[in-house]
């Protein structure tokens, strides 16, 4: 079989599967189902919370992933493999287990109290089963993916330029901010996108750590679950399609911004 035909069959088969899944969803639902789902106050609340929490957790991931990715890319020190190993945990661990671990972390007794009580005393609000738990659950997993992305981005930048910047009068931080970071903007956009998309798709840890209280901690991924559990398959499919649209919209906007920057 000719080479290009083989490539087309293997690659095209997978593309076809994705398109078929989306087409099946679209065919199953009607504009009426869509309008009905969107009219529900619970779904509207879930949309708002989803957009907010995904954006916050993606920004938090970027804030952590940039320095961590840079450190792992540039500095070679003893015991670095331990950090690599720890960062692989959120990637390989089932997300549900991650949520369970968060729940245990916040409630395990520490010197007669626990982290949940400490946060409540110190900051004045609860975490578990609250909207902030949604962000924490999303961030815990999404950040690891953002770190990997930023690390690869920094690996691709020649360290010589920042060395020269040091001889021109830069402190390390100035060389990073003025020379390295502007070169890593593509990586920053990709890391944000990956973290946002990952947060959007997160379900297990949110279910366990934040719960599925309607109008409070319900996000779109849990909406699908809730609608399914009450037997409203049409609404579940409509919400699923809504997630696809939201993801495509955000990815499109971010990619567009990236293209504009290149011009």
């Amino acid at each position: 079989m000719p080479f290009f035909t083989t490539l087309a069959i293997l690659g095209g088969g997978y593309l076809l599967l994705i398109v078929a899944l989306l087409v099946a969803d679209v065919a199953y639902t009607t504009p009426g189902d869509f309008r009905h789902a969107l009219a529900k106050p619970e779904i509207q609340s879930a949309i708002r919370l989803t957009l907010m929490t995904c954006t916050v957790s993606a920004l938090m991931s970027l804030w952590v992933a940039t320095p961590l990715g840079y450190s792992l890319s540039r500095f070679h020190f003893r015991g670095r493999w331990v950090i690599d190993l720890i960062l692989d945990v959120p990637v390989v661990l089932p997300p549900l287990v991650f949520g369970l671990s968060l729940l245990i972390l916040f409630h395990i007794p520490i010197a007669g109290t626990n982290l949940e009580s400490l946060v409540q005393t110190g900051l004045g609000y609860r975490v578990t089963y609250q909207p902030i738990a949604v962000v924490l659950a999303q961030f815990s997993v999404a950040c690891a993916f953002a770190v990997q992305t930023m690390r690869v981005a920094f690996d691709q930048i020649d360290p010589r330029a920042e060395m020269v910047a040091l001889t021109l009068g830069c402190r390390r931080s100035q060389a990073f901010l003025r020379v390295v970071l502007p070169q890593a903007w593509r990586g920053v956009i990709t890391a944000f996108t990956v973290a946002w998309a990952r947060s959007l798709g997160e379900f297990g840890p949110i279910l366990v750590f934040a719960g599925t209280t309607r109008m409070k901690t319900e996000v779109l991924s849990t909406s699908v679950y809730l609608e399914l559990s009450v037997g409203d398959l049409e609404a579940a499919v409509a919400v699923s399609l809504l997630m696809v649209l939201a993801a495509m919209l955000v990815l499109g906007i971010v990619r567009l911004l990236g293209v504009e920057r290149t011009r």
């Binding site: 010589r160 060395m163 020269v164 001889t167 021109l168 009068g169 830069c170 502007p182 070169q183």
Partner: protein, 234 residues
């Protein structure tokens, strides 16, 4: 003045030790030697990018062995130029001056003067991605000279250029060095460049530096010369 006194440098398993070198103030020194001897390592130790494990690095009689690269005030043009891909030519020339919080007037004046001397006025608004070899060399040189250093380090700056551009840049380097009284250390494989530029000559052999008379240039061992250069240096 650039002086290395009994300097030892380690780079992984590569070690240079007992390095002595003295370039008097305002002199143009050329350092030659076969690939892999450690010429680039020496330049990096002088500008502070590689730490010295023993000995002293003196610049204008000040012991800068433990100083950070930013505080040494040394202009450095590496072999790969390492231009900043996201900046324009103008931003390269302004870079060191902005770090020193130069006023707008000073920025304008210095950029105008440097770009005129280097012949890159027309390139100022352009990015550095599509510059020719000679243009990129001039930008790297301008970036290193913008903050008016007393000492300039050049690592095979003309290796990848054609003959005509190489001659032009040799003339430019010589006139810049004389007009600014720069103490210059220039690493090269080219005997021709050394003849053209050097006030004093150093040769690296068996990982040791020795000063030679300029008259010895013609009789230098062939392995110290590698026209075209381009190979990665230690």
């Amino acid at each position: 003045m650039i002086a290395l006194r009994d300097v030892s440098i380690r780079s992984g398993s590569f070690v240079l030790s007992g390095i002595h070198l003295n370039v008097p103030t305002g002199q143009y020194a050329v350092l030659m030697g076969a690939t892999g001897q450690g010429k680039t390592t020496i330049l990096e130790a002088v500008c502070g990018l590689r730490s010295v494990i023993a000995g002293q690095v003196l610049i204008d009689h000040v012991d800068m062995t433990r100083w950070k690269p930013a505080n040494r005030g040394i202009g450095y043009v590496p072999q790969d130029l390492a231009l900043f891909p996201t900046m324009t030519v103008r931003e390269h020339l302004e870079f060191a001056l902005r770090l020193r919080r130069a006023s707008r007037a000073v920025l304008h004046e210095r950029v105008e003067e440097l770009s005129h001397v280097l012949g890159i006025e027309a390139l100022l608004p352009r990015g550095v991605q599509h510059l020719s070899g000679g243009e990129a060399q001039r930008v790297a040189l301008g970036r290193a000279l913008a903050f008016d250093p007393h000492v300039l380090l050049l690592d095979e700056p003309l290796a990848a250029l054609d003959e005509t551009t190489r001659h032009r840049l040799c003339d430019l380097l010589r006139s810049l060095q004389r007009s600014r009284g720069l103490t210059t250390l220039h690493v090269t494989h080219s005997r021709h460049e050394a003849q053209w530029l050097a006030d004093c000559l150093f040769v690296m052999e068996n990982r040791a530096v020795s000063e030679r008379a300029l008259t010895e240039l013609a009789s230098l061992a062939p392995q110290t010369e590698s026209p075209g250069g381009g190979a990665a240096q230690r």
